[in-house]
């Protein structure tokens, strides 16, 4: 394990901004996509119940 | 009262009609008839002010429509060859918007009633007009007449591609308008099933 402390970990050798933006944006996009699909599914389910 | 005085019109070098003087009194209908290409559409567009006459004048309550401008257009409803509806909008939206632009009432319920009155079933009220059939699109255009409170109606072949049910609805609507003291000018190839005393014919020759 090369990280001496959490702050070192977050700093990423001075590249923290870039690294964490990348990972953060990726995580955010994926979570957003999952939520979007989930909401869409819920909406579709409601409509189905309405029709039936 | 609506009058044309010695009206003459031409399209590109060709004289279509000349010296046409007719008077449309409240409660009467003027049927413009004639062969294909005799100038019915051109005549109607002239009455709207969309086309300028070669000679003569068009008078609304005795005043020239060229002087009246917007005061005159506020008196008429025109339904042309083209339907004047947006393909991408639904019948309801189309009718609402055109009623609103004409200054007529345009709530959802009123609009739906008008569409049903012309024979357009509820099932297609919320589809984009693009997918409707030829005749159904015409219904949407004509439904404006059920909302219109204007005294003068100018209709260009309103019956073309309508089925029999819609034709009779429209005839009834015209009847109601006339008995309210309205005026109608109509270009058509069909017979109109209205009492003959309220109809006046203008035949254009080719």
């Amino acid at each position: 394990m090369q990280w001496g402390s959490p702050s070192e970990f977050w700093a990423m050798g001075g590249y923290g901004l870039y690294v964490w933006t990348s990972f953060g944006a990726t995580a955010l996009c994926m979570v957003w996509e999952v939520l979007a699909v989930w909401r869409r599914q819920a909406a579709a389910a409601v409509e189905r119940r309405d029709v039936a | 009262m609506f009058q044309t005085v010695a009206l003459s019109g031409s399209r590109g070098e060709r004289l279509l009609f000349s010296d046409v003087s007719v008077t449309v009194k409240p409660g009467t209908l003027l049927a413009v008839v004639g062969e294909n290409g005799s100038g019915k559409t051109s005549f109607l567009r002239m009455l709207c002010g969309l086309l300028s006459p070669d000679g003569g004048a068009i008078l609304w309550q005795g005043e020239d429509i060229r002087q009246l401008k917007e005061l005159y257009t506020a008196q008429l409803t025109y339904v042309g060859h083209l339907n004047g509806i947006k393909d991408e909008l639904t019948p309801v939206e189309n009718l609402k918007l055109s009623a609103c632009l004409a200054g007529d009432k345009s709530s959802g319920a009123i609009v739906q009633k008008a569409l049903e009155a012309v024979g357009l079933g509820r099932s297609v009220h919320r589809l984009p007009t693009r997918v409707l059939s030829q005749g159904q699109k015409r219904h949407v255009a004509l439904a404006r007449l059920w909302l219109s409170t204007r005294p003068l109606w100018l209709l260009d072949e309103p019956f073309a591609s309508l089925d029999t049910a819609a034709t009779s609805y429209l005839t009834q609507r015209l009847q109601a308008h006339l008995s309210n003291g309205g005026m109608v000018v109509i270009a058509t190839h069909q017979e109109i099933a209205l009492p003959t005393d309220s109809i006046q014919h203008l035949r254009l020759a080719r």
């Binding site: 090369q2 050798g13 870039y18 690294v19 933006t21 990348s22 409509e47 | -």
Partner: protein
């Protein structure tokens, strides 16, 4: 016809596919979570710092999987589209429709993480090099397919028109992949990659591969969930039609 004991035709109809997809989604989701977790652990805590690029290189663990997925998903989408056109099969069009947004998302992520990486290593957020450009074009293709579908509301036409365009656009995928080889560019090629010693490179490669597998699982889960939405939405439109029995006749065709 049965293949490995499964009646495939049974699942080729949307109604049968809907519950099947529902059953598979949890498994894929769990696999995705586990793999991405392990990948992140190896990537951040096992793999050492690169002595040339410092820790910025760790972006590789999202960048490369995202870039790969963007291309894979396009090919898969085009394949479904082709099958749909060839066999006139509605479920395959639905699959193609469900894949497009995820593909676009990964393309966007590849671009984003790439430029995050580019700033520290190349000194610029963006350069006009062949691979970057072709990846950008891939994004436009995804957007093109999605907007083409969005602008057509007749489902049948929407399905088939976007399928034709997806197929035509496949030519771009080999261009992206080989762009590094064909043109001399700033972006690194497959062989150059790591500057560290072989043993350390191995942990990096492992992390990258595990992350990629995780992204695969994620894509499966999300597209299956989305295809369920698509089926449900289309069924709803169907039930707006006249009566159910005749729809089933049409469906069975």
């Amino acid at each position: 016809m049965s293949f490995m004991g499964i009646n495939w035709f049974k699942y080729s109809s949307p109604q049968a596919f809907h519950p099947l997809a529902g059953k598979m989604i949890p498994w894929f989701s769990a696999a995705a979570l586990a793999l991405i977790g392990v990948g992140l652990y190896i990537g951040f805590f096992v793999a050492p710092t690169d002595f040339q690029q410092g820790d910025a290189y760790r972006i590789i663990f999202v960048h490369v999987p995202a870039a790969w997925m963007s291309m894979f998903l396009y090919v898969i989408m085009a394949a479904w589209a082709g099958i749909g056109l060839g066999l006139n099969a509605r479920p395959s069009f639905m699959m193609a429709q469900a894949i497009a947004p995820t593909g676009a998302l990964f393309t966007f992520l590849a671009l984003l993480t790439g430029s995050m990486w580019g700033k520290p290593t190349w000194g610029a957020w963006w350069v006009w090099d062949a691979r970057l450009t072709s990846e950008l074009i891939l994004l436009f293709q995804y957007i093109g397919i999605i907007s083409l579908r969005a602008s057509i509301d007749d489902l049948r036409r929407a399905d088939r028109a976007s399928a034709v365009f997806a197929l035509v656009g496949v030519v771009n995928v080999p261009i992206i992949y080989f762009s590094v080889r064909w043109w001399n560019t700033l972006h690194q090629g497959a062989s150059v990659s790591m500057t560290a010693s072989p043993k350390m490179a191995a942990t990096m490669v492992t992390a990258m591969l595990v992350m990629t597998l995780g992204f695969w699982m994620y894509s499966f889960a999300v597209t299956l969930a989305r295809v369920r939405c698509v089926i449900a939405e289309r069924e709803r439109q169907l039930s707006w039609g006249k009566n159910a029995s005749i729809q089933q006749v049409a469906e069975a065709r």
